[in-house]
C-alpha cells in the first residue's frame, strides 16, 4: 500500500498524470476516490475488499475531462480496461494502469500487452458463493429456475445501478431508452424486468469481465451478475474463448467459425 501511495504521489508530483482513480476508506468498506493533489495520496488503499470495478469511471467524460489519469485496477477491472482498449474507448498514452498483485507487489503496466500477460499469469479471484448458486440453479428443473428468476427479477425496480456500475455500459443511449420502437418496456414489472436483464446480459457477450459489479451494485441484492457470468461460461464452453481472450478479440458475436456448434439446429 505504501508503494502504491508513493507511486501515486510521484505520478501527481511529476505532472505525469492529473488524477489518480483509486479506493479510499468509505462508510463500511472501500469506495472510489479521485486524487488530484499529491498531498491526498495517503488516502489511497488497495486490498481484497476493493472489488468494485473502477474502470467504469474511465468513460465518464465529465470526470476525466481530457486529463491523463492513473487507475488502481483489480483483476477484473484490468479485464475491463483491456476490453475498453479493444473497443477504442481508451488511449494508451492517456492512462497509467496500476495494480497490486496477490503477493502485495505494486505493478505498473507500461503496455497494454503487459496487462494481458499479467491476467494470464495471475490467479483469477474466486467467487465461490456465485459458483455454488449457479450449480444449485443448474441442478433444479427448468420450471423451478423460471420460478426462481421471475421471483427475483419481479423485485427489480429498474434503478439501473447494474448498468451504471458496469464499465462496458458506456453507451450514450441505452437500448432500454430506445423508444422507436420501444424494444424493452421501461417500467418495472416482471416480464419487463426479465427482458431488460436478458438484453443487458446479451449485450455483454464477449465483453464482460465477470467482475460481478452489476450484482454488487444492486440495492435489492438480486443475483443478476449470474446472468452475465453464465454468458461468460457459454462463450467458453461453446466457442472455446475464455474471458481473458474474449476481451482482447473482436466481439464474439460479430465473429464466427464455420465449425461452430449447431447440434440444436435441424
Amino acid at each position: 500500500m505504501d508503494e502504491l501511495r508513493k507511486k501515486a504521489t510521484e505520478l501527481l508530483q511529476s505532472g505525469d498524470v492529473q488524477m489518480v482513480i483509486g479506493y479510499e476508506k468509505g462508510t463500511k468498506g472501500p469506495r472510489p476516490c479521485f486524487i488530484s493533489v499529491p498531498e491526498e495520496a495517503h488516502k489511497l488503499i488497495f486490498d481484497e475488499q476493493c472489488t468494485g470495478n473502477l474502470a467504469v469511471y474511465l468513460t465518464h467524460k465529465d470526470l476525466i475531462a481530457g486529463q491523463k489519469v492513473a487507475i488502481t485496477a483489480s483483476y477484473f477491472a484490468l479485464r475491463s480496461i483491456l476490453r475498453l482498449f479493444t473497443e477504442n474507448q481508451l488511449q494508451a498514452d492517456r492512462l497509467v494502469v496500476l495494480t497490486v498483485s496477490v503477493d502485495k507487489q505494486l505493478i505498473v503496466f507500461t503496455a497494454v500487452d503487459d496487462i494481458a500477460a499479467y491476467l494470464q499469469s495471475a490467479p483469477v479471484p474466486k467467487r465461490e458463493d456465485d459458483a455454488a448458486l449457479i450449480a444449485r440453479l443448474e441442478a433444479i428443473s427448468r420450471e423451478e429456475r423460471w420460478a426462481f428468476w421471475t421471483e427475483e427479477l419481479s423485485k427489480c425496480f429498474k434503478c439501473y445501478a447494474c448498468r451504471a456500475a458496469c464499465p462496458m455500459c458506456y453507451c450514450n443511449k441505452c437500448i432500454v431508452e430506445e423508444n422507436r420502437p420501444q424494444w424493452i418496456q421501461p417500467w418495472a414489472s416482471t416480464l419487463a424486468n426479465v427482458e431488460w436483464h436478458i438484453n443487458r446480459a446479451m449485450h455483454m457477450t464477449g465483453r464482460c469481465s465477470d467482475c460481478g459489479a452489476c450484482g454488487a451494485a444492486c440495492p435489492l441484492g438480486l443475483p443478476i451478475h449470474l446472468l452475465t457470468r453464465r454468458i461468460v461460461q457459454e462463450v467458453q464452453e461453446n466457442f472455446g474463448i475464455g474471458a481473458n481472450e474474449a476481451v482482447q478479440k473482436d466481439n464474439v458475436l460479430s465473429t464466427f467459425k464455420p465449425e461452430d456448434k449447431e447440434n440444436f439446429i435441424r
Binding site: R31, F157, P219, G221
Partner: protein, 335 residues
Amino acid sequence: MMEKRYISLISLKRWLEKLNNDGKHIYAPVHKGEKIDFGRISSTDEISFDHVQTTQSAKSVAFPRTEVLFSYEKEKHNVRLGNPASDSIPESVVFGLHPCDAAGFDPLSAIFNWDYKDELYNARKEHTTLVSISCTKSDEYCFCTSVNGGPGNTTGSDILLTPVEEGFLAEILTEKGETLMKADETCFEPDRGSVKEDYLVKLPKKFDLKTVQQRLNSAFESPVWKAQSQRCIGCGACAFVCPTCACFDIQEDAHGDKGKRLRCWDSCGFTLFTQHTSGHNPRETQSQRWRQRLLHKFSYMPDRLSVVGCTGCGRCSRACPVDMNLLEHLISLNN
C-alpha cells in the same frame, strides 16, 4: 387526537390476524433473500421486528412503482377511455414501518397536492393505515433527529407502537388508527404508564438543518457539487428507495388498438431525465443532477411546500453502490 394503550406481542399478533381475516392487505417487513423489505404477509410469523431499516420505503403503497393512469381503446377514428376505479384499491395496513417512513408521506402528499390534486395518489393513501414502530436501534446512516424527526416521532403515523418490556406502548393518533384498533379492541389493554423516551434509541443530531438550508440557498454555483458527485455513477437507487422521492415518468403500454398509460418511477439522477428531443439538456452533467437532488429536498421543497424532502432514513446511502453518503455531504455543508 391521542390515546395511549398497551398491547402485548401475542395480542398484537392476534390483532393483525384479525385484520388479515377482515380482508385487509397487510404489508410488513419480511426477509427477502439477504435483505429485509416490505411484503404482503399471510402470517405474522413472517414479520421481522429486529432490523434497523428495510431496503425500500413504504411509499409504494400510495405511489406504486408502476401504476395505470387510464386505459384506452381505439376504434377507427374514435377512442374510448377507461378511468381506473378507486373501489379497486384494497384497504391496506402498513405495519412495522419506522417513524421516518411514516413522516415521508407528508412530503409525498405535499408534492401530489400542492396545486393540482393527484386523486390516484390520494385514493391509495386514503385506503392505507400506517401502524409504525418506534426505533430502538439505529445505524451510522440514520439521521432523523437532524431533519425534524426522531425515533419515536408520531408524524404521519395512525398508530405508533413503541416496544416496552414484553409488549408495546400503543399511541392511537388518528381516527383511522382508532378504527383499526377497534377491529379488535380486546387486544389492547390500558396504558401501563411506560415512559416512551426510555425505550427509544438515542440519536444525537448530526447537523443543523437551518444552517444547511441557509448554505444551500446560496450554493447553486458552488464547486462543492462537482467535488461531491465525482463518485456518483448516475443510477436511480437513491431515488427509488427514498420515502419522499416522487419523480415519475409517463409511459405507454400499447398492444394493437388497446393500451394503457402508465406512471412509473423515475429519477432526477438519470441523464435523460431532462433531455429535450433536440438533444439539449438543462442538467447535462452528474454534478448538476446531484445538486438538483439535494437542493430539491433541502431548499426547493421547504421553500415551496413548507416541508423538508428528507426524513433522515438513510436509505439512499445504504443503497448507493459507490457509497455516496448523504449524511456525510450534509455534515460537510453544515461545516
